[in-house]
Every structure is written in structure tokens, then in C-alpha cells.
Amino acid sequence: MADKTIQLKIKRQPNPEVAAYWEDFELPWRPNMNVISVLMELAMLAKTKDGKPTTPITYDSNCLEEVCGSCAMLINGKAHMACSALIDDLEQPIKLEPLSKFPIVRDLAVDRKVLFENLKRVKAWIPIDGTYDLGPGPRQSEAQQNEEYPYSRCISCTCCMEVCPQFNEDTGFVGAATIAQVLLFNLNPTGQMQAPERLRALMGDGGIHECGYAQNCVEICPKDIPLTKAIATVGRAVVGQAVKDLFTT
């Protein structure tokens, strides 16, 4: 067992202006490793498989327990969180690439601020009057909490957008995560008061009608968020809102 190794192929791109290329890496196997612990090890090694000095690999990470959403990348071609990708579960050589639908920053790091912009577009917040003491919020049943909670666990990893056939520059589609957040805020008793605004933000270009129900999103989501259910529910509400708007203007 002493000489068991881990083999990797990593896509490198020093900056957005230059072409990408592949580098091969090899390092000793240890039990219980994940992709991040391998990348940490490579930073210390700073050598390719054939001993050529190279730069440490740039990637995003923070929590290392799949809750901050930083470390999404393509692992053996599939969008996955690197911190929860256990080496022993992966076929080797392990292929690491950046997500393909977002502007590259460097190596495995991409720029995903589009999701945060989309959350602004749909006003994904409860517009409280102020932070002064106004007593408790509205009462909610346990059942209601159970319904909301899964959506509140979205880690903004953008995996659902990466795999969505409709998410691209042509459609400007907001993606499944944003739609699920609309549902979360529209379910909240206070958030409900602004539901029409959020629904209207999902009409028109890039809105919910772009979704082709391909269901890739729900399969990839690391937090098992019921995305297709959210899309269906919000989709109906958007249609309802459009009809209502037609008759009131």
C-alpha cells in the first residue's frame, strides 16, 4: 500500500487572456482525502508529475464542509463541490476543470457574481421596516417551516446553473437557484406581501419561461433542493400573476 498514489489531470489557465492547457499530477495516497486536501497538498508540492516546477493551483474554497458554496468545479466532467468529493469515490486520473458557464478567473476559479445579481433582480429579501424592536415575527406552523427550510439551504454554488441547458448568454435565464429563492420568500408570511413584485421580475427576458424542464438542476444540486417543484410552483404563480396584471391595468 505504501506506494499507492493519486493521479490527476488539472486544467490550467493563468488568466482569462491566455489559452488553457492540462497538467498531470501525482501524489501519495492517504485515507480519507478529498479534492481540496489534494489541492492543498499540491500547493506544497508545486511540481507536476514529471517533476517540473509549477504554480500552486488557484481555486475557491472556504468552509470545507459543503455549506459555503465556494468550491464548485467540474470533477471528472461533473459539477461537484470539491470539498465533499472523496478521492476514494473517484475514477483516476481525476480530471479537474473550472465550471464552464462562468467567466474564468484563473485555473479552477470562476466568477459567479451573476447569481448575486439575479437575487437582486427578484428582490430576494424580506423588506423589514427596520431593525428596531417590533416584537416577534408572524407565527408559523411546523408544516410551514418544513416547507420553507429546504429552500433556505441553497448554498449559491451555481451547480444547477452550470448543468442547465437553458442557462447561457443568449437566454439570460436567471436559473433554478434564483427561482427557488423566489418561492422561499413568497412562502414567508411577510415576504408574501411582495410576491407580485418577485413574480413580475421572473416575467420577460431571462425569466422563468426559459426553463425547459430538463431537470438537470434537481439532479445535480448538492443540497437536494426540490428545484423542479419550485419551478413548477413559481411557474404557475407567474402565469396567475400575469393574468391578474392583465385585468387590473
Binding site: P14, N15, R30, N32, M33, N34, I36, S37, M40, A43, M44, A46, T54, T55, P56, T58, D60, S61, N62, C63, L64, E65, E66, V67, C68, G69, S70, C83, L86, R106, D107, A109, K113, F116, L119, W125, I126, P127, I128, G130, T131, D133, L134, G135, P136, G137, R139, Q140, S141, E142, Q144, Q145, E148, Y149, S152, R153, I155, S156, N188, T190
Partner: protein
């Protein structure tokens, strides 16, 4: 009318975001800096919950009891008035979070549900599944996004704080920061700066903290003249899951919901856990601490586990690990209340904790020490404030579970309001500060970068980091001996010497993570010495700080706050001490093995 107060907030965890919201609400303008997008801050990791004495369970709980538990749990080292204010504000903070839409768990009547955490006898902890920190951070993040959309807040994400800009009077007039993509170094003027940069876990190598919790910003400020207080008080969480890249936390809520800690009575017992009959298991916490049982405070539980493993040699299969057992609890209850944390164990270890007892061991978790602040969150440098885990005010010698989130939000609120007041009271605003002040600081930081880029020694920064982590974990955590701590400090000096011969394996000027890390490493080494020397100085045992050679708390000599300041000539900390404000609750012995 004078221009709106201009505030810089560094850090977008709970503390930073809470500060931003208060400032925006009070008419200030905020530039918010963070290494990671604020929604990805370490606060998302908090699993267990947030404390507030809402007394919704008919137990007669009250903010005073919360206050008393906090002071007692912290072994009387915290200044009492600010802790009392925090505990009084806590129920209102929970209400606010509820109004912001946090998906807190509910009772059948539709009220907030509360659970019990360590160091108290009351059900005082509100929770949202097993992802409370994530839910709270998102609630604040959403409010900040709203203020951002309305133009009151500007975010600088993927920017790292490098230093404060100080004028001739040593008043802070802004910050110097680096864009982690373009590597541009730039200064940003402001009336006042609030530091909310979180924990220092990376100084210990592996910890339960997130990657960016290096304490680098705190260390820079200490090197620029801020006091760093009670640095020697480091909380080691009794139940973490040992891992290659980090120590993943198994939240105290696992014990709050009835989890039991045990080891096989027979040393080196090779049987699988479930086949060991009850009478051959040793539930040592329940036996030693009948009143609190498995829910003794963290320092007590941690030392008990160390004792069982290292003195009685009863670790599972001879390894440094004990069982944390949930298998006697109904699956449906576990799924409802603990799903998120059980998922972590399943995902990262591969076993189902509903079926097999988990294997856990203590791991570095939290720093009680931090930047010294007064009761209004002001550091000793005018114009620099601090809130959250990066400051020292609320937890004394040991933090109670679920008390950090509340102290972050409370401290953030206090600092935000105070920042606006401070800015309004300034005689000269940042606009009238000479540009040479900013240019000088920028040059100083650019010179540091240039030095690192051209350094061509043979030392690998990541290796130095690993060695520092090992030294600090071994000699400066659970059990401390003066001789070992002094040796550890001498080794830190050697590492600082080796640091001078560092070699960056990346010299490009685009998204270069190596140079950012090298800068942090230097600051970590400097701060590590504050922790080590503070621990060496304090010859007593109090809260998380335990010295077998001085096993008792010594109020006569040591009921005082440690204040470290940087002595540039000696290139190391010097120490002074300050009395603790004990005006509200007279100190009493801290005993969890009997009623007090």
C-alpha cells in the same frame, strides 16, 4: 448639511453584516470588504443555534440567568456590563431575525422552538434545522443586498484588507487593501473602520474554522498599535471529526438532543461499537458530572476526553478518539432536528451516525481572545472598531455554545451605531486628510509585495504553516506546560527566521493566491507568539486555559485581562494587565460536578 458618514467594514460574517445594516439604516455609507463573497463567510458553518432567554418553555429563564451562565461559564474573566447588555438584547435579536425570515424551528403552537446547549440548565437556544449560522448569515446578507441595491452599500468582494491608514496623530483614516484578482494595492479613505474578520483557526493548522480564518487582519492591527486581549484563551471543541484537510465540527446540539459520550471499558477493545453491551461501556461524562452529564461546558468535556484517552488509555482501538452515540434516539427526531450535521458525518466519513456511533476527538474551534475593545467596541486606536469573533469582549475565559452568534450580531449592531456617532463627531473628516498619508501606506504595502516576489530562498510557505500548526496544537491548546510553551515560542521565532528565506512558487500578478497566503502566514506567526507568550505568562487555570502545574483559578493574582501590544524593536509582544469589571456578579468557584 455635512456629507453622510463614510464607514469601512472589513469582513462580511454575521458581525460585519450586522454593522453594515445599522450604519445604512442610520444614514451612513458603507464600503464592505471581504476576502470571500460575504455570503460564503465562515458564519455559515455554525450549526447548533443562537442563545436568547425568551423563556418560551415555562422554565423561568431570564436574561439575568443567561448573563449569569455566560459569566460563570467564562470563569469570571469577561467584563460584566457589556455581557449583561448583550443578554438583555438577545431576545429582541431573535425576534428581529424571525422577522427577517429565518426559518427557525417551530413548536406546535407556531412559536419558536428552543433547545438546550452546554453550560446551562435551560432550553435557551433557537435553531433552524442544523444550519442555523447559514440561515442567520443569509438573513443579514439579504438585508445588506437590499441596501446595496438601494445604493447605501458598496461591496468589495475578493479584496483583502492589508492595513489601516493612520495619520500623523495615529488616527485611522481608512484602509489599504489588495484586489485578489488583479493584485492591485489601493487605499480607501473613510471616517471610521470596523474590523469584523472572525477567527484565527489557521494558526493551529487544522481546526474547525474555515480557510480564510487566519487572524491576519487582527495581527496587522496589533502590529500597527492595537492591543490584543486574552489571546491565550483558545477554545477546543470536544467533538470534532478528524480529517485530512480540516477538523469538521460535530455540533454540541448532538449532545443537546441526547447524544452520549462513551468509550469501551476494556482498553483496545476491538469489537464493533454496537456489539459492546451497556455495562461494558463507560459513560464517563455522565459519571463524573451527574448534574450536567454530557452537556458540561466545552473545556470540561475536552479535558475529560483527553484524560480518558491519554491517562486511562481508553481511546477507541488505542487511537485518540471516543464515541459520540446517537443510535438510541429515534430516527425521525434525528432527521428533523439534526439532519444537517448528521449529513456532514455521513458525507465526509461515509458512516450513518443514526446506525453507528460517531468517532470524535477535540479540535481547535474558537478564540475568546481578540482585539481589545471598550464597551462601545472601540479599539485603542481612534477610528478603528471591532466586532465578532475577532474581538475579546463577551466570552471571558471560555465561550458557551450558541453564544457566539448572538455576540457577533450584538457587537455588530453596537459598533455600527457607534461608528456613525464617531463619524458625526469628527472635527476633520477624511476629505481633509493629506493624500501623502494614503500614498505612504500604499507604498509600504507595495514594497512588502515586491520583497516577497523577489525573495529567492528555499523555504516553502505552506510547509512553514504546517509546522506552525503542529507546534501550536501540541503545546498551546488543551493542556499547557510552561516549559513546552517556551519551546514552542522559540520554534515560532525560528519559523519567522525561515520566513525571511521564503520562496514563492508563483510570481505572476493575477489571482496569485501564494503571495496572499505568504502575507497571511507572516501575520499568523506574529499572532501565534501572542497566544503562546500569553499562555506562558498566566500561571493559573481558568476556563479554557489549563496548566496542570497551576491547576486552580487564582483570582488574587490573575483576575485580569491580558493586553498584548507589539514592541517593534524587540519584534515581539509585550504584556500589561487590566482589572476585570466584576461589578454585577461576585466571582464564585466554577464547578460543574456539583450544584453551586
Amino acid at each position: 448639511m455635512p456629507a453622510a458618514p463614510k464607514v469601512i467594514v472589513v469582513g462580511g460574517g454575521l458581525a460585519g453584516l450586522a454593522a453594515v445594516i445599522k450604519i445604512a439604516e442610520h444614514g451612513g455609507h458603507v464600503d464592505l470588504f471581504s476576502i470571500v463573497p460575504v455570503k460564503r463567510s465562515h458564519s455559515v458553518c455554525a450549526q447548533g443555534g443562537i442563545n436568547a432567554a425568551k423563556n418560551l418553555k415555562g422554565e423561568g429563564d431570564s436574561p439575568w440567568k443567561h448573563f449569569d451562565d455566560t459569566i460563570y461559564g467564562g470563569d469570571f474573566l469577561a467584563n460584566q456590563p457589556p455581557v449583561k447588555e448583550m443578554c438583555e438584547a438577545a431576545p429582541g435579536i431573535i425576534d428581529l431575525l424571525d422577522r427577517m425570515g429565518v426559518t427557525f424551528n417551530r413548536t406546535p403552537e407556531g412559536l419558536l422552538d428552543f433547545r438546550r446547549f452546554g453550560g446551562t440548565l435551560y432550553n435557551r437556544t433557537a435553531f433552524a434545522g442544523a444550519t442555523t449560522g447559514q440561515q442567520l448569515l443569509y438573513a443579514l446578507d439579504e438585508q445588506v443586498r437590499r441596501h446595496e441595491a438601494e445604493g447605501r452599500v458598496k461591496k468589495f468582494e475578493h479584496w483583502e484588507f492589508l492595513s489601516a491608514v493612520l495619520d500623523e496623530e495615529k488616527t485611522c483614516r481608512g484602509i489599504c487593501a489588495m484586489d485578489l484578482r488583479t493584485m492591485e494595492v489601493r487605499t480607501f479613505p473613510a471616517d471610521v473602520v470596523i474590523i469584523c474578520t472572525g477567527g484565527i483557526g489557521a494558526i493551529f493548522g487544522k481546526s474547525t474554522n474555515s480557510v480564510v480564518c487566519t487572524g491576519s487582519a487582527q495581527s496587522v492591527l496589533y502590529q500597527q498599535g492595537c492591543y490584543y486581549a486574552n489571546g491565550e484563551f483558545i477554545q477546543v471543541h470536544p467533538t470534532s471529526i478528524p480529517g485530512e484537510d480540516k477538523l469538521r465540527l460535530m455540533s454540541e446540539s448532538a449532545r443537546g438532543e441526547g447524544g452520549r459520550v462513551w468509550v469501551p471499558k476494556q482498553p483496545g477493545d476491538k469489537r464493533n461499537a454496537l456489539s459492546i453491551p451497556a455495562n461494558e461501556r463507560w459513560y464517563f461524562l455522565e459519571e463524573w458530572y451527574p448534574k450536567y452529564g454530557n452537556l458540561v461546558p466545552r473545556d470540561v468535556a475536552t479535558r475529560a476526553i483527553h484524560k480518558v484517552v491519554y491517562e486511562y488509555h481508553l481511546g477507541i482501538d488505542g487511537q485518540p478518539m471516543v464515541y459520540l452515540d446517537l443510535t438510541h434516539i429515534d430516527r425521525a427526531i434525528l432527521d428533523k432536528k439534526l439532519e444537517g450535521i448528521l449529513e456532514i458525518y455521513e458525507k465526509f466519513v461515509g458512516d450513518d451516525p443514526r446506525e453507528v456511533p460517531m468517532k470524535i476527538f477535540p479540535g481547535m474551534h474558537y478564540t475568546m481572545g481578540g482585539l481589545w475593545v471598550d464597551f462601545k467596541q472601540r479599539t485603542n486606536i481612534p477610528g478603528i472598531m471591532a466586532a465578532g469573533e475577532c474581538e475579546y469582549q463577551y466570552h471571558g475565559a471560555n465561550r458557551l455554545g450558541a453564544n457566539s452568534l448572538v455576540s457577533c450580531i450584538w457587537g455588530g449592531f453596537v459598533s455600527g451605531l457607534e461608528a456613525v456617532n464617531y463619524a458625526k463627531g469628527l472635527k476633520t473628516r477624511y476629505e481633509s486628510v493629506s493624500s501623502t498619508v494614503y500614498e505612504a501606506e500604499k507604498k509600504r504595502q507595495e514594497d512588502t509585495n515586491a520583497r516577497l516576489m523577489s525573495s529567492d530562498g528555499a523555504e516553502n510557505p505552506f510547509r512553514i504553516w504546517r509546522e506552525m500548526g503542529e507546534i501550536m496544537t501540541k503545546d498551546c491548546t488543551v493542556i499547557r506546560y510552561n516549559k513546552n510553551i517556551r519551546e514552542a515560542d522559540a520554534k515560532l521565532v525560528q519559523l519567522l527566521e525561515r520566513y525571511r528565506h521564503i520562496n514563492l512558487s508563483d510570481r505572476t500578478m493575477w489571482a496569485n493566491t501564494t503571495i496572499a497566503f505568504a502575507r497571511q502566514l507572516y501575520n499568523m506567526l506574529q499572532l501565534a507568539r501572542v497566544v503562546a507568550q500569553g499562555a506562558a505568562a498566566r500561571d493559573e487555570s481558568r476556563g479554557a486555559h489549563y496548566k496542570p502545574d497551576f491547576p486552580d483559578r487564582d483570582d488574587k493574582n490573575w483576575l485580569k485581562t491580558t493586553k498584548a501590544s507589539f514592541a517593534p524593536d524587540a519584534d515581539e509582544p509585550k504584556f500589561e494587565f487590566e482589572p476585570v469589571d466584576i461589578s454585577l456578579i461576585p466571582p464564585r468557584p466554577r464547578r460543574y460536578d456539583m450544584a453551586t
